[in-house]
Amino acid sequence: MNRDRAALFAYLAAVLAASWLHDPVWLAAGLAVTLLAAGGAASSLLRRSVLTVLAFNSVISLSYAALAWMQHIMPWETLLRINLRVVLLTSLTFLFIARVNLFRALDFSQNLTYALGLAYSQALTFRRAHEDFRLALASRSLKRPRLIDRYRASAAAAAWFIEKALHAATQSAQALRSRGFFHD
């Protein structure tokens, strides 16, 4: 078994463990181990993970805290558990993507490699397009864009991505069908 495939199985095992463990102490220990494994990139990994989940987790946490307050329940342990678990899973995933060559990890299955190739090419295209949307707004802004302008720019980008994703998915499916990938 190559190193990347071993890392893939280790990652899947870690995800399962993080989903089953309920004790915040164990989840915190898992996060500590993940950050140790990141070495010099630990602080940026933690910052990136926290920023990624901040908006979503804040809404969930505040909603739960409000519900717990109405029902006279102490919410702290549950809130700690939820947030630690999400940050742990996000950190694990970022670390895994940064360190592992997914193509080598999945080279035991031709179908999985095809699916990964399609997803990867889409992700690269969208990453470049996303950067262009961001830079175009910056280029046209003579002063800091208003919130409404940023919302509109995000909405326009999201609509464009959905349309392109649908088009690209149709094209990919037709290309695969044309090459005999589907047997229907």
């Binding site: 397009a129 830079l135 910056a138 046209r140 003579l142 002063k143 326009a156």
Partner: protein
């Protein structure tokens, strides 16, 4: 509305935008520009040529202050442009108002509910009094006056490109950077754009990998090679006669031709688009 001033064209004209020994690597790894130095003078119409992946779009984004080069300097009217300096509101407003970039993908630039709002986006930030007149003027100039109440997303690729152009020109920039502006245009619109750009009294730098269009877009050529160096900077007609340089830049190709029973092979450009 203020009148645009015509400027002196040529090497004696004052420098507008400069790159000095610019290098750039994406993520610190992938090299896209190597030791690029160039000066765009006031009023010049230049064309940036290079094959796909040579770094043309990156160079425009660096000139527009959107990407900070890994090494080297960007200078606008004798003032160095860096991310830190662009945080100063006065320089930011002046630079963004005077140096405009037309993105290759017009969808990246469109986000307002109507074409009118799209064109008015820049002037509203400036708080100028005659926004409606400016918007109508530039919408008519580029030929989208009939679409002002429509959402820009509903337009064709060529119409979107024109809306983007109007949204930039309404600010009356001094430098216009255009990234493959003919890519989404049909032949009629391409002809219109060439004439329109030639009539604009602004410094332009237009990227293309289409050699047949290049002489129509400017009289000075800048060529990025496959090794990401600037391998040519000079008159475009001289470049078009230099097959060795064009081959080195991967701007021409060779394939077999069949004329009746005769078959031969030589390097040439196709007038595609």
């Amino acid at each position: 509305m203020t009148e645009m001033r015509y400027r002196i064209v040529g090497a004696d004209a004052p420098p507008m935008l400069q790159l000095v020994d610019v290098q750039h690597r994406y993520g610190g790894k992938v090299e896209v520009l190597r030791d690029v130095s160039l000066t765009l003078h006031a009023g010049e119409k230049s064309v940036l040529l290079g094959c796909n992946g040579s770094g043309k779009s990156t160079l425009l984004k660096i000139l527009n202050g959107l990407i900070a080069p890994t090494a080297g300097r960007v200078i606008y009217q004798n003032e160095e442009i860096t991310p830190a300096r662009l945080k100063a509101p006065a320089l930011h407003r002046r630079f963004r108002g005077e140096v405009a970039l037309l993105f290759q993908n017009p969808d990246a630039m469109l986000f307002n509910p109507t074409v009118f709002d799209e064109i008015a986006f820049g002037p509203r930030q400036l708080g100028v009094p005659d926004i409606e007149a400016r918007v109508h003027h530039w919408a008519e100039q580029v030929g989208v006056g009939a679409h002002l109440t429509r959402p820009p997303f509903a337009l064709s690729g060529g119409e979107k490109q024109k809306v983007c152009l109007a949204a930039l020109l309404v600010l009356e920039p001094k430098v216009l950077l255009l990234d493959e502006p003919t890519a989404s245009l049909d032949p009629r619109s391409t002809g219109w754009l060439i004439d329109f750009l030639a009539s604009l009294p602004v410094t332009t730098l237009t990227t293309t990998h289409n050699l047949s269009l290049a002489p129509e877009l400017g009289n000075r050529a800048l060529v990025l090679g496959e090794d990401h160096h600037l391998i040519y900077d000079g008159p475009i007609q001289a470049l078009l006669g230099d097959m060795e340089k064009l081959t080195a830049a991967n701007l021409v190709h060779t394939h077999r031709h069949r004329h009746g029973n005769i078959e031969h092979q030589h390097t040439h450009v196709h007038d595609w688009q």
